[in-house]
């Protein structure tokens, strides 16, 4: 399963990564599992663990339970501050 992940704003800067293309092992079926898998890559990814970090799947706000599927575009970002 191949997905794209985007990071924005302070999270992007903390991780030093803007975008990743990843092949996921089977079983990463939702946002919660994806986040655990991403964090398991090492402590550089710790900023992603903050509870305030939001997720979007295919450009729609997502929850932990939102399904992740092949070719999805997943984004992680801090609370928004526009307007």
């Amino acid at each position: 399963m191949s997905i794209t992940i985007l990071y924005f704003a302070s999270l992007r800067e903390a991780l030093g990564v803007e975008r990743e293309q990843l092949s996921l092992p089977p079983g990463i079926r939702d946002v919660a599992r994806l986040r655990v898998w991403l964090l398991a890559r090492g402590e550089d990814w710790a900023p992603l663990a903050a509870p305030r970090i939001r997720a979007a799947v295919n450009q729609v706000l997502a929850s932990d339970a939102t399904t992740v599927a092949d070719k999805d575009e997943i984004a992680f970002f801090p609370p928004v501050t526009g307007g």
Binding site: F8, A9, F77, P78
Partner: protein, 151 residues
């Protein structure tokens, strides 16, 4: 059917012309609007403000917010402009204008759209001050403002 127009852009815009367009030459009796600016002068010594966004999702989120407003109120026109990139103190950041037959629905829908935009649309602000740059924190009062629209 309300006329809806949404833009996410770096360029500035002419708020007066946007208001004129919303009135539809008198088809609407009432136009409520909001303008947000980069605060300047004494307000914390901001030298500049950079607005980052999530291209694609931003436009989609704004369209969804406007559609929600249209489900709640009978509107004649909605205009949303949000600027991105680096802006200086005093520059416009956001314009939301709503045209309706009466002022109640125009005011409510305009405020509703701003409250949702502030909490749901993927924009992030980074301020530059003499002490360096920092990301603006989300405000609890914005979540509170959103909560009152929920059933």
């Amino acid at each position: 059917m309300a006329q809806v127009s949404i833009n996410v852009q770096h360029e500035d815009f002419d708020a007066g012309a946007e208001l004129d367009a919303l009135s539809g030459n008198g088809a609407a009796g009432a136009v409520a609007s909001f303008l947000g600016y980069v605060r300047g002068g004494d307000a914390g010594g901001i030298l500049a403000m950079t607005l980052e966004h999530y291209p694609g999702m931003t436009e989609r989120a704004l369209a969804d917010i406007v559609a929600l407003a249209q489900e709640r109120w009978s509107l004649l026109g909605v205009r949303v402009i949000h600027r991105v990139g680096r802006l200086l103190p005093g520059e416009r950041i956001v314009f939301v204008g709503v045209a309706g037959s009466h002022r109640g629905e125009a005011f409510s829908a305009c405020q509703f759209i701003m409250d949702y935009l502030k909490t749901q649309a993927p924009f992030w602000k980074k301020e530059e001050t003499a002490n360096g740059a920092h990301w603006v924190d989300a405000r609890d009062s914005d979540d509170a403002a959103l909560a009152r629209w929920r059933p």
